[in-house]
Symmetry: C2
DNA sequence: GGTTCTAGAACC
DNA sequence: GGTTCTAGAACC
């Protein structure tokens, strides 16, 4: 293995440990070479681990293995035979294989605080969204009020226009009767534009 | 200790284990009696644990302790003296005290999936809120359109009324000129109600 | 990045 | 509720 490679210290030490024939009594490659076995857990933890790491706890060793994506190899019981409780522990990683130290650089330490940060962001999002909902809801209420006012005003306007048109028609009739010709001009000298003409080409939906 | 009490099996076994003078060599009360010590972790795990539990793993024992709220007692290093790595492990719980088995019933196993459920609920809330926001937003857009339409219609109506009033006024003048008296009645025989009278007591805000 | 204590989650 | 494997988080 290249010692100047970018392989983390833990992986380099683990590789050395498993490769080293002197410690094969306690930790070694499996038959297939795609996993490693710890044969005497107690002795391995107390005697071998401190020679490579700053502790002698199997738990810390396993924590590191999991941190780098190693998985314990479960020995499924084939039928009746009960799995021996004190058998060797076996760990495996797709890029940790006998004789293929070039794969080691593919093993990545799991990065922390991805989920905690996500949760915090989610919390902030939640607050922002709630504030936004309340804001939109308030505006909607005021718009609804305004809409109701406008609608009533509008209806009143239509009624007044209806009334005014009738008055106008009656006056027209009256004037026609007395003068013989209708008056259609307003003060601007232009023919008035009726509302139904303005909206002839637009659909007016009900409120 | 009452054997018919509602104390979980783990706590009952742990209490027995710590109390039992025969195992004091491996697990016993601390001097003050407010914590317990495991003196020879390796022997304790492999020889004592399986006599009380269905395993011989210190990790499983510690997992249970944590599950019931026990905390490891940390031995702070006073200054220069380095803490011995292989000293006894010590665990403590406010309701686990020498000679006070009546307190045991206060020790509660931590219930699981409180946080996961919270997160799931939060996720569901988030989805519902987002859907709600989109719904309200859509409605707001349609109301805005409707409001714009009504506003323009309203303005056109005001203009037409203005025109009609002018026409009416001119006609009045004309009729007055020719007949000597004004015509104010519409076809219903009632006096028309002008829009400014309807809204005299209401403030009309701008859109 | 390493070590330690505690917790989550799956399985029994 | 117990056991096991893995992960979170704090501290170094």
């Amino acid at each position: 293995m290249k010692h100047n490679s970018n392989v983390p210290a833990f992986l380099a030490k683990l590789w050395t440990l498993v490769e080293d024939a002197d410690t094969n009594e306690f930790i070694c490659w499996s038959q297939e070479g795609n996993s490693f076995l710890v044969l005497d857990e107690q002795h391995f933890a107390k005697e071998i681990l401190p020679k490579f790491f700053k502790h002698n706890n199997m738990a810390s060793f396993i924590r590191q293995l999991n941190m780098y994506g190693f998985r314990k190899v479960m020995h499924i019981d084939t039928g009746i035979v009960k799995q021996e409780k004190d058998g060797p522990v076996e760990f495996q990683h797709p890029y940790f294989k006998h004789g293929q130290d070039n794969l080691l650089e593919n093993i990545k330490r799991k990065v922390s605080n991805t989920r905690p940060e996500d949760n915090k962001i989610r919390q902030e999002d939640l607050s922002q969204i709630l504030a936004s909902v309340h804001s939109v809801h308030s505006k909607q209420e005021s718009i609804d009020l305004r809409l109701g006012t406008l609608k009533r005003e509008n209806e009143a306007l239509w009624r007044e226009i209806s009334d005014l048109r009738q008055i106008h028609a009656h006056q027209q009739q009256l004037i026609k009767k007395v003068s013989g010709e209708p008056i259609l001009m307003n003060s601007n000298g232009k023919k008035p534009k009726y509302i139904h003409q303005i909206y002839d080409d637009k659909a007016i939906c009900a409120v």
